[in-house]
């Protein structure tokens, strides 16, 4: 269970949000909404532990995430607005190495299957830098199919995706929620994700 208590985030001289509380249990989906610059990314980064909140705390199963350290990091999968892939490696190499770094190694056939599901088999061997924006995003999202994490934190995952890839992503997130996963997704669009309990959080109102 993910809880945030009295979060406050100040960037520069600007207070993005304060007294923010949330509580998500297994099967919950949190849709973080709001205009550009309202703090969606900051909130997600605070929930990952990358960014320390100005005040307040984030708890996982009742324990602060700082105290949990690596244990918490094992349970989460974060996809930011950057794709986190190396330009000079192929999609296959990228996913293999990132799975090993996140301490959940997968086989190349598993990666191949994930890439196939996202329809980028042909591009799997090409250097990442030659792919189109949409293809790059698909590679980054294919990580989710390989992830064993309970908590998914996705920052604008639908950006640069075409409708078929968006549908696929909805299905994948739906399946994750059905398996008692938790997802936090920032998006300025409606999510339309099947299954799970949808909660909304509007920032910057």
């Amino acid at each position: 269970m993910l809880q945030a208590i009295d979060l406050e985030c100040v960037r520069g001289d600007h207070c993005l949000f304060s007294r923010l509380n949330l509580s998500l249990k297994n099967g919950d989906l949190l849709h973080v909404q709001g205009k550009n610059g309202c703090g969606k990314t900051s909130l997600l980064r605070i929930l990952t532990g990358l960014l320390p909140p100005t005040s307040g705390k984030v708890l996982w199963d009742g324990v602060t995430i700082n105290a949990l350290g690596g244990e918490y990091k094992k349970t989460l999968s974060y996809i930011g607005h950057l794709n986190a892939q190396k330009d000079d490696l192929s999609a296959l190499e990228n996913l293999m190495v990132s799975s090993r770094i996140s301490a959940a190694p997968v086989s190349s056939s598993e990666v191949g299957a994930a890439l196939q599901r996202f329809g980028i088999t042909a591009a799997a061997q090409l250097p990442f830098r030659v792919l189109s924006q949409g293809q790059k995003r698909r590679v980054a999202l294919a990580k989710l199919l390989l992830s064993k994490a309970t908590l998914w934190l996705l920052d604008e995952p639908f950006a640069a995706l075409d409708s078929s890839a968006s549908d696929l992503l909805r299905t994948i997130v739906g399946a994750h929620l059905a398996q008692n996963g938790i997802a936090v997704i920032s998006s300025h669009r409606e999510l339309d994700i099947p299954g799970g309990t949808l909660k909304r959080l509007a920032l910057g109102l």
Binding site: P52, Y78, H81, L82, A84, L89, I101
Partner: protein, 222 residues
Amino acid sequence: MRSVFFAVLARDLTLYLRRRSDILTALFFFAIITSLFAMGVGPEINKLRLIAPGVIWVAALLTSLLSLNRLFSSDCQDGTLEQFLLAPQSLSLLVLAKILAHWLVSGLPIILVAPALGLQFDLPAHSLWILVISLALGTPILGMVGAIGAALTLGLRGGNTLIALLVLPLYMPVLIFATSAVDASLSGQGVEAHLSLLAALLVFTLFFGPLAIAAALRVSQD
């Protein structure tokens, strides 16, 4: 735990080898600096032999600065650094793997080329050996201390100049112990004391460096 270390090591080495030209550029830079010193001092061979240890070592220091700013910045720009920070394993371990990979492509070539440059300065064979040993002990320290500077200045404006300002003063003990060793070998004195001090410094840096770098990388994400 070991698998993560080797995954990062292999990843970084693959990336460096796919951009081989950078490694060669640094080596040429190293060679050019030493030749410039020879031009500046004049061709008198006894004088050159006397300044050789200092010249080669200062050139090694400057060369090590060249690639430092890229050590973490490309990972920071494409978002892989975030994933490093979110890895369950200790960040220090990942950092150590990255620095080892960086040393293999930046420090090791310098060590291999240095004897040839030493010959240009007419260093005798046994001094060349000491030069190589001093570089083998010293360049990892340069990489480690440099990485602290690189992590602290990650993504800052004017980061490159700032790294030099932060890191060069900290390089001084390495320079002194290493050149003293080569000097001692030139004048026929014992070199063990200098080299042991250098080795002690290396152990110390290997132990504390990754902690400082990890701390600096964590705050760079704010």
